[in-house]
Amino acid sequence: MLNRLKQYGIFVVFIIICLILSLISNQFFTVSNWTIIITQASINALLAFGVTFVIITGGIDLSLGSMVAVTGVTAAMLAHPDIYPVALPVFAGLISGLLMGVFNGFIITKSKIAPFIVTLGTMTIGRGLALILSKGRPVSNLSDSFNFIGGGDVFGIPFPIIVLILIFAICSITLKKTLLGRYIYAVGGNEQAARASGINVNQVKMAVYSISGLLAGLAGILLTSRITTGQPNAGAGFELDAIAAAVIGGTSTSGGTGTMTGTLVGVLLIGVINNGLDLLNVTSYYQQVVMGIIIIGAVVLDSWNQKSNG
């Protein structure tokens, strides 16, 4: 019940901000603008969904941005020149993301080192790998079929939006309806109790970091395809946006609580603010300040809401 209310709180904030923006900019509330907002938010959404699983178990994943770079470069190298079917670069991108996620999970569960430290390490390793693979240069001239993933549309709906909806549905069901979902909450809520009740805590942790890596792989493919080039320095700082989205959406960094719907609202809120500030022509310097204020403000409002409702 408390989760529900928390979710509504941020939803109200989101609607208020949308209303304000549509009052001051007449381009804001149009179909074409919303298509753009959601397409732009899709990459952050995939990362945020992945990190939501991780944060609910009480962990954190700082290597998201680097994984985006590694997987993007890997995919790009196989999508250029156009000799392999498009499935290969996509598959390679996903696998490289998954492997990095498994590596994170392996080190975290075997060594008992804090996830913050481990993923900080893999963040640097990943950036280095991306630079090594690409020799420090962007990989360009990708095949048309690969570029379709991020740039094409189906019945007028951009492909990234379709991916976003699909992944949201899968993640949401995984968290709400499956055994794994229940275990994830249990591990984050009280690790000792979860272990005592027979849950294999390490397996659950392995699973969340692997999912996070796999989704980062998908995000890397989307980004690479959208900008039609594999960039070794792409994705720097993406992890912060993803974590911000999850936290804005009500996922507690101490673990145990959070929903995919909340995270989705968080992602859209960040997307709407970015888009709105550009539409209103707010100077670059002020944009950063405004963004920070809105993030803090949204969470504060949300916690007030919770108290008054609870």
Binding site: S25, Q27, T30, S32, N33, I36, Q40, R127, L131, K135, G136, R137, P138, S140, N141, G151, L223, R226, I227, T228, T229, Q231, P232, N233, A234, N274, N275, D278, L279, N281, T283, S284, Y285, Q287
Partner: protein
């Protein structure tokens, strides 16, 4: 050695063995290098701004090529955008007693102490690509203000001195961003009918700039006549957004650096122009200057490499 083996044998952990063997591999490598380095080559220490930046990597590659040609030994390190790290690297070059130091400064002010340190240690130091406030022994590079002027001049000519322009900045406050903006604004002043309707940062990044352009298309639509992006990555991002919106034919896009992707785009006629900053001449020029200084030959204190406008007409010259 014997003790090491015992340690390895007693450890059942595969990773420790792996780690130790890697360590041995590297230590062996190092000693090999030391043996080879005994002949008398000119030794040059190079610290680069960031090896994550394609243009800087190009300069570094050109330096290596020239060094090989002139039989110079290069020690190249990456300052990763951190002036403090760069100063420490120069200090270590001084300790290694290199013959010349080449520095690609991270920052105008903050990298200046490195120049002072090298000069006090009586080791000549050459700045490449960008400047420091303290005068080094020599400077090899280009004037970024000029590149902004060239790009904006092209837009002004194409639009006949009249129209609406948007500008995409690099990272705010970096030397290249400040100078390119300055150059562009100088030209804008001369054409009162050219209006800068909006300018935002794209942080040198293709994806960010693509998002920004999409948002601009939403708010200004067909009012935009030209885009000036302060580097090619951002220019190509804006170009992609315009192409997706079906507006490319109506909007002129110009950017700076002439990276490989941008040259291809100019050849295809999608990117209207880019400004060529000559990585080859900057890299090679720095090494040549270094050799001249060591051999006591006359050298230019300020070797300015000119920018060139690249359009569809002269693209052949720039494609290898």
């Amino acid at each position: 050695m014997a003790i090491d083996f015992i340690i390895i044998l007693t450890m059942k952990n595969l990773y420790s063995i792996l780690f130790i063997s890697i360590f041995f591999f590297f230590s062996c490598n190092k000693s090999n290098k030391a043996e080879n380095g005994s002949d008398k080559k000119i030794k040059v220490g190079v610290t680069m701004l960031s090896m994550q930046n394609e243009f800087i990597v190009n300069i570094s590659d050109e330096m290596s090529k020239k060094a090989e040609e002139l039989d110079v030994e290069l020690i190249t390190v990456d300052a990763e955008h951190q002036p403090l790290k760069q100063i420490e690297q120069v200090e270590s070059f001084i300790a290694q007693k290199v013959d010349v130091i080449i520095m690609n400064p991270c920052e105008v002010e903050a990298s200046s102490p490195a120049v002072t340190k090298a000069l006090t240690a009586k080791i000549p130091i050459i700045n490449v690509n960008s400047a420091t406030t303290i005068q080094p022994t020599a400077f090899v590079g280009s004037n970024d203000v000029e590149s902004g002027r060239i790009a904006m001049n092209f837009i002004a000519e194409k639009l006949g001195g009249k129209g609406n322009i948007v500008m995409i900045h690099g990272f705010m406050g970096q030397a290249a961003q400040i100078q390119r903006e300055q150059g562009a604004k100088e030209i804008l002043k001369k054409y009162p009918n050219l209006k800068l309707i909006s300018h935002q940062t794209g942080e040198w990044d293709r994806a960010k700039s693509m998002d920004l352009m999409q948002n601009w298309i939403q708010s200004y639509g067909t009012k935009i006549n030209a885009v000036f992006a302060q580097n090619d990555e951002m220019g190509l991002g804006a170009l992609k957004a315009l192409q997706d919106a079906g507006l490319k034919d109506k909007v002129i896009v110009v950017s700076i650096d002439a990276i490989a992707d941008a040259l291809q785009a100019v050849k295809k006629g999608t990117l209207d122009a880019t400004v060529f900053q000559n990585a080859k001449q900057q890299g090679a020029g720095a090494i040549e200057t270094a050799v001249k200084i060591v051999k006591g030959q006359p050298y230019e204190k300020e070797l300015m490499i000119p920018f060139q406008l690249v359009t569809k007409e002269n693209i052949g010259k720039f494609l290898k």
